[in-house]
Point group: C2
Chain length 309, copies 2
Amino acid sequence: MRKILLASVLSACLTAFIPAAEAAPPPAAPQTPADIVAKAPAAEWKRIAPSDLLIMDLAADAAGHTRRVVIQLMPAPFSQGWVGNIRKLVAARWYDGIAVVRVQDNYVVQWGDPDGETPGKAKPLPKGLAPVPQSEYVAPARGLPKDASGGGDAYAPRNGFSAGWPIAGDEQASWPIHCYGMVGVGRNMAPDTGTGAELYVVNGQAPRQLDRNVALVGRVISGMEHLSALPRGTGDMGFYKTAQERVPILSVRMGNEVPGLPGYEYLSTESQSFAAYADKRANRKDDFYIQPAGGVDVCNVPVPIREVM
Amino acid sequence: MRKILLASVLSACLTAFIPAAEAAPPPAAPQTPADIVAKAPAAEWKRIAPSDLLIMDLAADAAGHTRRVVIQLMPAPFSQGWVGNIRKLVAARWYDGIAVVRVQDNYVVQWGDPDGETPGKAKPLPKGLAPVPQSEYVAPARGLPKDASGGGDAYAPRNGFSAGWPIAGDEQASWPIHCYGMVGVGRNMAPDTGTGAELYVVNGQAPRQLDRNVALVGRVISGMEHLSALPRGTGDMGFYKTAQERVPILSVRMGNEVPGLPGYEYLSTESQSFAAYADKRANRKDDFYIQPAGGVDVCNVPVPIREVM
């Protein structure tokens, strides 16, 4: 069984009264982005190594439903110091028992140690975590992404996709982009204070002002709805005011530690189908669309991810 | 009592381990966008007429908490045909008893008549609704907005703010922008099929491909969290599969019909403070930020809204 996971490429049929941005067309209709993805040959799909996946199980919801979030870790050359720390935190089972502590609407959902700021009560971190320098926010400019989003934007002279990820850049450096679903490292005021013990995910309009100011270490590829649909916190910046509001994290494991985990694949951003998909995202002209935009924001071209049994 | 409503300008103090995009600074820190908004003189705040507000009360949540959503209707010259229909639907109490029927992650939350597509079961529409031509998706180009977001973007040669709203444009026309929280008119395949009886709100990355393809008629200015935090639908395109999943809408009234409603104000987008706020959104350099972006997306400059008692 195969299932396209991204909500934006999930739909399978047209329904009346909806802006059917991703609906598959009737036979005679022009191609939609979803249609292009559905027809992409197997060779264009790339398997994500289970050892690069974080499997985060939240406590069951009020109705008793399990809540699993799958996060793909960022590959080199970006943020590898933090990614290394995260692997150590998982190995030490440090994340087990922490909680989602903050949900700010149209900004971020954040999880970590609720007592992390309380001397004496903070959960001790495992040995061997490395402080990571600010320089790891970016990588050398070589390998700037092939542009896939109509050129630069307000935040960077160039942006596009490389090895399955949205990347921005200039002549000096490249850096990952804060798109919806991207996972980053919470930190204190100093740029090198983030260890990876506190993480957040973008749940709204891309907060690109965070690019190069905070480390991005991955993205949610399954179960985003378990985080994005959580009640918003009513404290400052969306922090939950009470312990009862927090959502316990039962465990975080690497994908290769989880028996029976499905396989996950992304559509190669260097493939012909991805190029056609991105172009169609920029130029919708099908049964529903009457005015193609002629362009598209890099964060409005979600990299297609699918589950393979 | 005064309260800044937008989550992005809600925070009042710094907390460790967070990307504090909108946190107010300690006394010695450089100004933040939230700080600029907090210091804006009273004369720069514009009252929103209660007669331009939709007050939508959802059924109470599982814990018995009331859920009120406040929507500001779009002013002329945009979408006035649909806005007129919406006023007639409110006057006829047509929205009372319909429901939220769709929540698609990172796209839209939609409400309407669950039986709207079922001949014989569809709730009859009031007399006098006017079919609105596609031409009302845009307005003549005169009065193109003063640019407030670093020029054009992938979707339009120009964009910015006009009379409190995010607006895009070219030399021929202007049109409102699908930013987070903007409310639009669901329609069928034909461009003139949307009556205003089916509405949606953007709950993720701005789906700008819908600009000029669907009518925008307003924006949520309070209570967005009651829609954005709803469980995502598991049907095609996020539609709820069962009637039990739908969220009943108890009533929709115009603001001037609701006793004791607080006043709502927006920061004039033609004001000095708004210009300074937008510039600071594009150039964050305070205790937390080390690398200003130098630009900002028009949908990442939420127009500050506040409640005044």
